[in-house]
């Protein structure tokens, strides 16, 4: 038998091998593709649906001289012979309202509510001048908050795969072979790297799909605003993901069986859900949103939203990104120590203090 003198895989090689395996394993699961395709489909649905369902002009019936009054308005007009026929159509819910002659002018017939959208078409609006004009209205901001929040939530929760993969290794005890072969830090780094790359890949696809979806929806003017915001969202999302990944890895290392994972995942889920709900609740409160945009855990969603709403200057985003980066480094170092301290401890749940203690 030929003896091959093997050399030790370098730290980078070991990390890459671990990352590669994580990616390959994760991509080969059905859950990954279902989740990803659902997100892409959801993105299209969110932008396209309003124009499909909400874009129709109100249907009205018009009688005699009133027909002239509705011409050129954004109304779907149906001409009828007399007022009685028009009223019949309204009662039958065939039309939203009927516009009939009334003395020298016109009158609107409706069933039980004044039809605001029809009336708006018929009155002359005074000119409006906004003193603090924003390129985005609050509806658009709401949709952006929702989308950014959901994407952050989805990828943050997706990080649970790191915890699961770590527990699998502990539960099957392959961890003993791994630990006797490569440094524990390489295992941790590889896991995080693998999932960061996977997430980045998905984010890139989503970021490419978003402009297409907006164009399909005929919202091209929104594109000019969304693209720079996306440019901020991606780095925030990636750094935020590293932060959360390292916490997921520790959550996985602290337990020995899949069934026990629930007991350690709570805190991490809080770190993922907290920013999501926080930003959803407070997106209309500039003060709270402003604070959240500098807190590492909420910054991932809050700062890009502020950039989108043009409430923050680029330097603020850079400062926040810097704070996030420093936090990532600190958490990574702590996670690495906890991971090392708990990876080979089997039995029940490892206490954080025990995982932190220097190895015996």
């Amino acid at each position: 038998m030929d003896r091959v003198s093997s050399t030790r895989a370098s730290f980078a090689q070991a990390t890459w091998l671990v990352a590669e395996r994580e990616m390959r394993t994760f991509v080969s699961t059905k859950g990954f593709w279902i989740g990803f395709l659902a997100t892409v489909a959801g993105l299209f649905a969110l932008t396209v649906l309003p124009t499909v369902f909400g874009g129709d002009d109100p249907r009205v019936a018009a009688v005699g001289s009133a027909v002239q009054a509705v011409q050129g308005k954004q109304l779907d007009v149906r001409e009828v012979a007399d007022v009685a026929a028009a009223a019949e159509l309204v009662r039958a819910d065939e039309v939203e309202a009927a516009i009939v002659p009334d003395g020298g002018g016109i009158k609107v017939l409706a069933l039980n509510d004044p039809p605001a959208d029809v009336i708006r078409q018929l009155v002359a609006s005074p000119p409006v001048e906004l003193l603090d004009a924003s390129a985005v209205n609050s509806d658009q901001r709401f949709v952006t908050v929702l989308v950014f929040g959901l994407v952050f939530l989805m990828f943050g929760m997706g990080g649970a795969a790191i915890a699961q993969s770590t527990v699998t290794e502990k539960q099957t005890r392959i961890v003993e072979i791994l630990v006797s072969t490569v440094p524990v830090r390489a295992l941790l780094a590889g896991k995080i790297l693998g999932h960061v790359l996977l997430t980045l890949g998905q984010v890139v696809v989503l970021a490419l799909a978003a402009p297409i979806a907006l164009r399909v929806a005929g919202l091209s003017e929104l594109l000019a605003v969304v693209v720079p915001a996306l440019g901020w969202f991606v780095p925030f999302l990636m750094l935020g993901f590293v932060l959360i990944s390292s916490m997921w890895a520790v959550a996985g290392a602290l337990v020995s069986r899949q069934e026990d994972l629930g007991s350690t995942m709570g805190l991490v889920m809080l770190a993922v859900m907290g920013p999501y709900f926080g930003v959803q609740f407070f997106f209309d409160n500039p003060a709270v949103l402003g604070v959240m945009s500098f807190v590492p855990f909420t910054a991932g969603v809050a700062m890009p939203v502020r950039m989108f709403a043009q409430q923050a200057q680029p330097w603020e985003a850079l400062v926040s990104l810097g704070i996030l980066a420093v936090t990532v480094v600190v958490i990574l170092l702590a996670a690495s120590r906890l991971y090392t301290g708990s990876l080979l401890q089997t039995g029940g749940r490892v206490k954080l203090s025990k995982a932190w203690a220097p190895a015996e």
Binding site: V4, S6, R8, R21, E176, T181
Partner: protein
């Protein structure tokens, strides 16, 4: 040579290993015996660096074992560990590369090992779809794929049927013959008796016996003989200076000066057999622990 010197280990207040010392010589199969909880697995995990020792040292070719050295070890943990959802060939190749073997070599080694272990037909199946015995063979492949300098195998034969034992044994013997020291633990004494060149017996965290199999047998051999005659052998009890240990019709096991009894037996009639009783490993084991 792998040298273990005076390693100790506590779990809490409980001393699990107490000054354990032994050698694993190159080219030899060393059987590591002990009852459940005697410290076998703890010792192996310390050798592999998975667990820290509270004193003592482990060295390989006279040098302390460093993390750089360790990937050259092949390890099969007691609680089997591989990725259940990964395909067999992919998994073994990956482990080879993780041990620092280049891609082409890892692939070639994997294919050769799977052939040797009669697993080629299952190479592209997920590990979890294999029977436990076959998973065990894959585990052996995982320990060997990087052509290790030292092999540490915790209970490599448990769960294998007799044919699989032969297959695995064949593969391990080849490694030993190429100069690799092989340390394997087992509680199946009959297997160890047949396989190992050297034996280390551990009991309650201490080494109870240690040496080559023949040496141990000699050391633990007593003045015990078995005599089978044509008729009843009850008379042996009356020979002066003889302690009869077992008597069963024409067969008797005794301790005494053998020549005196043999002469007496020949005087009385036919002697069908007269043999010194060589202790089995089982007996030595029971005696020392």
């Amino acid at each position: 040579m792998l040298t273990v010197r005076g390693i100790s280990r506590n779990f809490g207040d409980h001393r699990v290993l107490d000054e354990v010392s032994f050698d694993v010589r190159p080219g030899r199969m060393t059987g590591f015996l002990g009852a459940n909880g005697s410290g076998k697995t703890t010792t192996m995990r310390i050798v592999l660096g998975v667990l820290a020792a509270h004193g003592g040292s482990v060295s390989w070719r006279g040098e302390a074992i460093t993390p750089q050295r360790r990937p050259h070890f092949g390890y099969m943990p007691e609680e089997r560990g591989l990725y259940p959802k990964m395909k067999v060939r992919e998994q073994i190749t990956w482990l080879g590369r993780l041990h620092g073997v280049d891609k082409a070599t890892a692939r070639a080694n994997t294919d050769r090992l799977l052939a040797d272990l009669e697993l080629t037909g299952r190479a592209d199946d997920r590990l979890e779809s294999l029977s436990l015995g076959n998973q065990q063979r894959v585990q052996i492949a995982a320990a060997l794929v990087h052509d290790p300098d030292v092999l540490i195998l915790d209970e490599p034969f448990s769960g294998l049927d007799p044919i699989a034992v032969e297959t695995v044994l064949d593969v391990l013997r080849k490694r030993a013959a190429s100069g690799v020291p092989v340390l394997f633990s087992s509680h199946q004494l009959a297997i160890v008796e047949r396989l190992c060149d050297d034996v280390v017996i551990i009991s309650k965290g201490r080494i109870a016996a240690n040496g080559s199999r023949e040496e141990l047998r000699r050391t633990h051999a007593s003045d015990r003989y078995e005599l089978v005659v044509a008729e009843d052998a009850g008379w042996v009890r009356d020979v002066p200076g003889v302690a009869v240990l077992e008597l069963d019709g024409p067969r008797v096991v005794f301790e005494a000066d053998p020549q005196q009894v043999l002469r007496a037996a020949l005087d009385r009639g036919e002697v069908r057999s007269f043999t010194p009783v060589v202790p089995t490993l089982d007996e030595i084991f029971r005696e020392v622990i």
